[in-house]
């Protein structure tokens, strides 16, 4: 019994410590890196280091880009997933089951393998170096559709939709007036999950963007590169790129975890 708590406390400590330690280093002078033993409490240099970050890479632009990209992706994913989830959960149409199976199966397709033609496609569309290349392919995804289908088939009473029909609502009217309000709790969780993964995405932005117009993660990787080789700078950037998300997670983590567990069980 006591051992169980001790283990879980130790695990919680190991989960949080690297993040804490990155803030410790980010708030100190470069000289602190050569200290033995390493410093364990934050110093007073955090804001000076952060302003150096903004001098070294276009971090302000990166923050704006990441906000635009992650924000528009989450709104689109919430909308389109609810729309498709409504159709799969509550509307009768030919081929519904097989289409749902295909949707789930696409989650298993390793998208990374198609990265070269995808890049060539972006070159053709002249979207390389722009946020379109990040936003358009991510407007909706299988996980979102599946997640909303699961939620709506359970949480949305069919009687409510029938009542709407009797009142003369079109399908679109039902979606707008009945489904969207009912979907709000799950859509919010989906939106947060999507925002986090879009904010944290690294590989595709690295391929398709240029260093002078980066997202936060691409800017961070520039900071951490061997050419700069300045751990304090890299960690100060990491802290400002990561802490907002950690703060959101600390506030809404309970709901996000509920969403992950719910979306995963029946996968």
């Amino acid at each position: 019994m006591r051992l169980r708590y001790l283990t879980l406390i130790a695990v919680a400590f190991f989960s949080a410590f690297p993040l804490y330690y990155s803030v410790v280093v980010a708030s100190r002078h470069n000289s602190a890196l050569a200290q033995v033993p390493p410093p364990l409490i934050p110093g007073g240099n955090f804001f000076a280091n952060v302003s150096r970050v903004f001098d070294t890479v276009p971090f302000g632009l990166a923050l704006v880009n990441s906000l635009i990209v992650a924000g528009s992706i989450s709104i689109a994913v919430m909308f389109f997933s609810t729309l498709a989830g409504f159709a799969f959960a509550k509307l009768a149409f030919r081929g519904r089951n097989i289409m749902l199976v295909i949707t789930v199966a696409t989650m298993m397709v390793p998208a990374q393998l198609g990265i070269i033609p995808l890049y060539m496609l972006m070159v053709k569309l002249e979207w390389t170096g722009t946020n379109y290349a990040l936003i358009v392919p991510a407007l909706v995804n299988a996980f979102g559709v599946f997640f909303m289908t699961q939620y709506l088939s359970r949480a949305l009473p069919t009687e409510l939709l029938e009542a709407g029909r009797v009142d003369g609502c079109s399908t679109w009217g039902l979606f707008w007036h009945v489904v969207l309000p009912a979907a709000r709790p799950a859509a919010a969780v989906l939106g947060m999950l999507t925002f986090m993964s879009a904010w944290n995405d690294y590989f595709w932005p690295l391929v398709v963007l240029t260093p002078d117009n980066p997202t936060v993660q691409v800017a961070l990787s520039t900071l951490a590169s061997g050419y700069v080789n300045d751990y304090v700078l890299g960690l100060a950037g990491t802290a400002i790129g990561t802490l907002p998300l950690v703060a959101v997670f600390a506030l809404f983590g309970k709901h996000i975890i509920g969403g992950i567990m719910q979306g995963a069980v029946k996968g």
Partner: protein, 320 residues
């Protein structure tokens, strides 16, 4: 007189529109997903196969059909086999302990517990942290001269390890990063499955005097086997595609050799990183060669995932 037919046509028109609405709108609602998937998911994947049969670079205007030429070059390429070995090594080192740990943690969390939410949130915290942040932070912790991990090891008389320099050490370091980020996430998925296991089974087992570990082995694991299969497959597919970690580790550990080689001696270059090197980091932008490597990688993913599927399904009860 004239109003009556008009009303009828209007009603008829409305009912046609109504039928159309019922029949067609569901397809319109699921269409965005399928259209986007075809354009940006399926098409690139299939087109990769076509590109792989050509001598195809970003710089040249024409593409020459070379058949399976890229593949035979690839199979004779020592760097390709090195990357394959590294991928499997890092994959096994990070996935096997991770899943065992995740099951055990889920088991610990699957009881009446105070601070339940706090523990769950702390478990998932690493997963909210971006790959870039994880590697930047751990590169510092794994630093040779002043890294915290070497400092702690020095208490036990272990000398300063240059983690990024060796094959085994760099694989361990990368596996630790991957484990740190994903163990909690998988634990939560196992926990979700465990909560669906009927409580009575445990009560009966406790009455029979079965130990905690025995209950995990004989009740929990068999009951959640579908979830275990699912997690193993997803983790395998993920592990076969590891790229950001070695790329950034090579970059921030400052070992030289460029960001795509996975260390100066390619000691931690994975398959996905090899594809990136050929396609984007090489001065020739050799898309044909990189696409061929992508397809072999895809076959490897399917093969390894298939084997794991068979193994996990076969194993009965005694997974631990």
């Amino acid at each position: 007189m004239s109003t009556l037919p008009l009303a009828i046509t209007r009603r008829r028109r409305r009912s046609v529109r109504h039928t159309l609405d019922l029949r067609v709108s569901p397809y319109a609602y699921v269409a965005p997903f399928f259209l986007l998937f075809c354009a940006f998911g399926l098409f690139p994947l299939v087109y990769t196969a076509w590109v792989s049969l050509h001598e195809w670079t970003l710089l040249s205007e024409t593409q020459e059909f070379v058949g399976l030429g890229n593949y035979s070059t690839l199979l004779a390429d020592a760097y390709f086999w090195n990357a394959t070995f590294n991928t499997l090594s890092i994959g096994v080192l990070s996935t096997v302990p991770q899943l065992a740990l995740a099951i055990w943690l889920a088991h610990l969390l699957n009881r009446r517990l105070r601070f339940q939410t706090l523990f769950r949130v702390s478990l998932l915290l690493p997963n909210v942290t971006s790959v870039v942040a994880v590697v930047v932070i751990f590169s510092q912790l794994f630093g040779r001269d002043f890294g915290m991990i070497n400092w702690i090891l020095s208490w036990f008389g272990v000398g300063n390890i240059d983690w990024a320099a060796g094959t085994a050490t760099s694989h361990i370091a990368l596996s630790v990063m991957i484990m740190w980020r994903w163990t909690g996430y998988n634990a939560l998925i196992f926990l979700a499955a465990m909560q669906a296991v009927p409580r009575e089974l445990y009560e009966a087992a406790t009455l029979d005097g079965a130990s905690n570990f025995k209950q995990l082995r004989s009740i929990t694991i068999p009951m959640i086997r579908p979830t275990i299969v699912f997690v193993v497959i997803v983790s395998t597919i993920g592990a076969m595609q590891i790229i950001a970690e070695p790329m950034l580790f090579g970059q921030s550990s400052g070992g030289g050799g460029g960001i795509a080689t996975g260390g100066p001696d390619r000691q931690f270059q994975t398959l996905a990183l090899f594809v990136y090197e050929q396609g984007f980091a090489n001065s020739t932008f050799d898309f044909g060669y990189a696409s061929a490597a992508s397809w072999l990688m895809f076959l490897a993913v399917v093969f390894v995932a298939g084997i794991n599927f068979l193994i996990t399904r076969r194993v009965k009860g005694g997974l631990v």
